[in-house]
């Protein structure tokens, strides 16, 4: 009972002071509000981006494998994908022989290219490949037809675009089939419109901005007829280690082992995830600086509060309050002040995330909530302890006589 009364008196006294200086309380909490909001939103953004990328990879289907230039060490460090060796058709034919590979396709990619039709332009990533890319990437047709072997053999100027791109260029996706688009100064005929893989909206279209053309059709702007990656699919998950070993062995006959790597999708996903985690940690750490600044604001106000209430401290001490009681009272106040900021920050973040959800999979997880509230309480304690100690260390007589 006594402790409840103690707590009630302390909290009531804190709120009384807050309500007496509402503006000051709000401004002090604002520092924490902004800090918590910055940290929470960046965490949410980081998690959302990671999830978005994972979803994109998952939509490609499982058991996907790649051969890429550069050693695994450089790739997993996030570099080396561009530059280094390029592959050619001979490599595809070599890998094709490996047991348990169901599909294989070359991967020529050119990002930042444009397609034009009806005077409108869209940015796409050209993917020069074979008809086998269709089952490998789980591509599904919406209108028209998918790329076939004959298209690839002829190297015809045909193109598959996603509904997302086509809808921006033509009045209707359905009518676009059979029409021409201009890309790299050449005309390509749309043979099929493929279903959207979703995602996008983050300044790029993700998988939806891929423009699939037969590999031979890239020769005009890819004169050395080489490509940057070879995609292939394992029959099942268990076959992956053996395939990896076989492909590695076969390619080593032609290239130095540091010049290329055989990767499975999981490894690429992990690499990208780890890069995002690092970037995100750095961003959150930067945002955390604003929390420290908010904490200093709390400390400042608590010092003012202590000075304003020296007499009250003296009275409480005269009535038998211990140093620890005074310390607890002022710490409670700074924690409440900081928590108000934390809760408001979380609320504002919720609203922002609600609107962000239409763009990408953003959500506030329990971890962020606990972190936000935990960190703001901790800030209340850390930055409240010095003013509270100052209050506790006053001599009761000096305090009670303070004018």
């Amino acid at each position: 009972m006594k402790y409840i009364r103690y707590l009630v008196f302390t909290i009531k006294s804190a709120f009384f002071d807050f309500s007496r200086s509402k503006g000051r309380t709000f401004l002090t909490s604002l520092g924490i509000l902004i800090g918590v909001m910055a940290v929470v939103l960046l965490m949410v953004l980081g998690l959302g981006l990671k999830r978005y990328i994972e979803q994109q990879f998952e939509s490609l289907g499982s058991n996907l494998m790649y051969v890429m230039p550069g050693s695994k060490a450089t790739i997993t460090r996030g570099g080396g994908i561009v530059g280094g060796i390029k592959f050619d058709d001979k490599d595809v034919r070599t890998i094709e022989k490996v047991k348990s590979i169901t599909y294989i396709a070359p991967g020529y990619a050119k990002a930042g290219s444009t397609v034009e039709a009806n005077g409108k332009t869209e940015i796409v990533e050209i993917v020069g490949s074979s008809e086998q890319i269709v089952p490998m990437f789980n591509l599904e047709v919406e209108y028209g037809r998918l790329m076939e072997k004959k298209d690839v053999q002829k190297g015809g100027k045909v193109i598959m675009l996603s509904t997302t791109v086509v809808e921006k260029l033509f009045d209707s996706a359905e009518e676009s089939v059979g029409k021409n688009v201009t890309m790299e100064n050449q005309n390509f005929k749309i043979i099929g419109v493929i279903k959207s893989k979703g995602g996008g909206g983050l300044g790029g279209g993700g998988l939806d901005d891929h423009a699939y053309i037969p590999f031979k059709a890239t020769y005009s702007f890819n004169p050395d007829k080489k490509f940057y990656a070879i995609y292939f699919k394992a029959e099942n998950k268990d076959a992956i280690p053996q395939i990896k070993e076989d492909v590695q062995r076969l390619l080593e006959r032609r290239y130095d082992k540091d010049d290329f790597s055989v990767l499975e999708q999981k490894e690429i996903m992990e690499t990208i995830s780890s890069i995002f985690s690092i970037i995100n940690t750095v961003l959150v750490a930067i945002a955390a600086i604003s929390l420290v600044v908010g904490g200093i604001g709390i400390m400042n106000i608590m010092y003012v509060t202590v000075t304003e209430r020296i007499r009250e401290i003296g009275i409480r001490r005269a009535l038998g309050a211990k140093k620890s009681d005074i310390l607890a009272q002022f710490l409670t106040e700074s924690v409440i002040l900081s928590l108000i900021g934390g809760i408001l920050g979380l609320t504002v973040s919720y609203v922002i995330v609600f609107f962000l959800q239409s763009l990408f999979p953003a959500y506030i997880d329990a971890q962020s909530i606990i972190l936000a509230l935990g960190v703001s309480s901790a800030i209340g304690i850390i930055f409240g302890v010095f003013p509270a100690k100052k209050a506790a260390d006053l001599t009761p007589m000096d305090a009670i006589r303070y004018e």
Binding site: A318, L319, G320, K322, D325, D398
Partner: protein, 222 residues
């Protein structure tokens, strides 16, 4: 009951100047006494009360409370003793304005370091009735009269059943009639509940109401 032995209190004003507020005070207060400490302002009578009430440590000398030397005790023990043994009444009432009358009366019990043998809430209500504060329990101190505030302060001093009440100019901020009623109340507490009362005052009339007078000049008892 309270014994001061060769107590000195000095304040360092700056590096070179020290001010001596109490000079070699030796004083014994017996249980049940009603004492007035008088003297001109600045003579050290309030300092004496604060030192006696363990609100400040003496520079030299010792203080015994109930035969126990309390000089040099740790802050927690001193606070606990102050809480249980003493009740304070001040000229400025010193109520906490953000707590209601009832909460102000209850405040010392919140800081009690031992479990109380009675319900402090019940006791607080009794004191409210007894001191004519009924109906004011949930008022805030700045909404009631000076006399009522001083009654609340006395009720607050009594909530822990103290052995001794130390009052610093308890009538100083009240008109003479209200002041008189406060002195009546203190006399009654001394007479009927055998509470030791020490009143610090510069008012000779107030001192007349006590049973023993200690006169102070320049930090010394004369």
């Amino acid at each position: 009951m309270i014994k001061l032995q060769g107590v000195w209190k000095e304040y360092q004003i700056d590096r070179e100047i020290t001010f001596t507020a109490l000079k070699d005070i030796t004083l014994t207060i017996e249980k049940g006494e009603f004492i007035g400490v008088v003297g001109p302002s600045g003579c050290g009578k309030s300092t004496l009360m604060y030192v006696m009430g363990l609100l400040d440590q003496p520079t030299k000398g010792s203080i015994h409370v109930d035969e126990k030397n309390v000089t040099g005790l740790g802050d927690d023990k001193i606070s606990a003793l102050r809480n249980a043994f003493f009740g304070f009444v001040f000229q400025q009432f010193n109520l906490i304005n953000k707590l209601t009358v009832l909460e102000n009366i209850l405040l010392p019990s919140v800081y009690a370091s031992v479990k109380l043998s009675y319900d402090p809430l019940e006791k607080a209500r009794d004191l409210v009735d007894k001191f004519g504060l009924k109906g004011k329990e949930n008022s805030y101190p700045n909404k009631i009269s000076g006399g009522q505030q001083q009654r609340v302060a006395i009720a607050r001093a009594l909530i822990m059943h103290p052995e001794c009440i130390l009052a610093d100019e308890p009538t100083g901020n009240l008109d003479s009639k209200t002041g008189e009623s406060i002195l009546d109340l203190l006399s009654e507490l001394n007479r009927e509940e055998k509470i030791t009362i020490v009143v610090v005052t510069h008012d000779a009339h107030v001192a007349e109401r006590t049973r023993r007078t200690i006169k102070m000049v320049d930090g010394q008892i004369v």
